[in-house]
Amino acid sequence: MEKKPKDQNIKAPLSISDADIFAAMKDISGYLDITPADLKELYLAAYRHARERLTSSLKAKDIMTREVALVYPDTPLAQVAEIMAQRDIAGVPVVDTEGQVVGVISEKDFLGHMGSTEIKNFMGLVAQCLKEKGCKAMGIRGKTAADLMTSPAVTVGENTPIMELANIMKEKAINRLPVTDSRGRLVGIISRADILTSMYQNI
């Protein structure tokens, strides 16, 4: 079994200071028969327990969006862009006819194919459009989702704990994770916002 970290090493979300603890003790009327150091240790240990309980109980299937906008590898890029614009989303999973996730296509994938130099964000595109007379979307006209998508996609299972979801997003620097069932078929998607919302509601 993995050894638990010592209480002193736990990181609270906001590092709680001794002054915070002292101030909290002052807020409570009546004499508290405990030193600020003990109280802090207790707080951090209780926080760790709460976090473990909440993060192991909240899973991908509990927080994912089930109505997923999706495209197919042969969907024309114009239609992909239209779907993303209509749904006001920055990326969609690309699935094959059996529902298997074969890739993800996002704003970044579009931007990466739209200029002579590499463009990383919307303002980069604006800058290039203004400097170089006209915009470069024409270069990818006629192409399909399969041409631009990032593949293979990083996907997660339905029972992945929320903490792991957050770690994957951070490590892979991605903003959305398609959720697949045991057969690899798309069942939902999780965005950074979904994680933030559920953390806010539950932790």
């Binding site: 002292f22 009546g30 004499y31």
Partner: protein, 178 residues
């Protein structure tokens, strides 16, 4: 942490309580000790009976001045005093000729017994010690010392704590009974 680091301490002392807290602590302690002292000096005057023992002063601090502490809860107040009184009297009766040994035995054993029974109440240590070193009047009580002054006295102080500590809006007592 090295020995010297440990010696230097690791935190600050808790904050001072509010003025109202101090006033209620004073009032509770005054009334609690007044009750047992009055019985001891006025009603029991001229008898062999006792109602006041030194350890009640320490109990007063806890139940009126730090009433949220686990030490101050009814289980601890009554359990700690009663257990320690039994151990104190027993130790004295086994070793009446060796008070230097009976004293530490009584105190250490009562602390251990309070730990085991989760009735830690610091004044209990004094209650045990008083049973050993007490004056002739205390010694003459024998095991009745457990009933009175210790049991009855602690109960009277508890009753007053139950009333006084529940009058102010931001105080309540007990945190738990047993």
């Amino acid at each position: 942490m090295s020995f010297w680091q440990k010696l230097s301490g690791s935190t600050q002392s808790p904050p001072r309580v509010s003025l109202s807290e101090i006033v209620w602590s004073w009032l509770g302690s005054f009334l609690g000790i007044a009750a047992v002292a009055y019985i001891n000096y006025k009603i029991f005057a001229g008898t062999d009976l006792v109602m006041l023992v030194g350890s009640f002063g320490a109990s007063a601090l806890l139940i009126y001045g730090a009433n949220k502490s686990p030490f101050a809860q009814p289980r601890n107040l009554l359990g700690g005093h009663l257990l320690s009184a039994i151990i104190g009297v027993g130790t004295y009766q086994i070793l009446p000729q060796h008070p230097w040994l009976a004293a530490p035995l009584a105190v250490a054993t009562s602390i251990a017994a309070m730990h085991v029974t989760r009735t830690l109440h610091p004044p209990g240590g004094a209650t045990a010690l008083i049973a050993v070193m007490g004056d002739a009047k205390i010694h003459a009580l024998g095991f009745f010392y457990v009933v009175m002054p210790v049991g009855v006295g602690a109960a009277i102080m508890l009753l007053i704590a139950l009333v006084v500590n529940n009058i102010p809006k931001n105080r309540s007592y007990p945190q738990y009974w047993f």
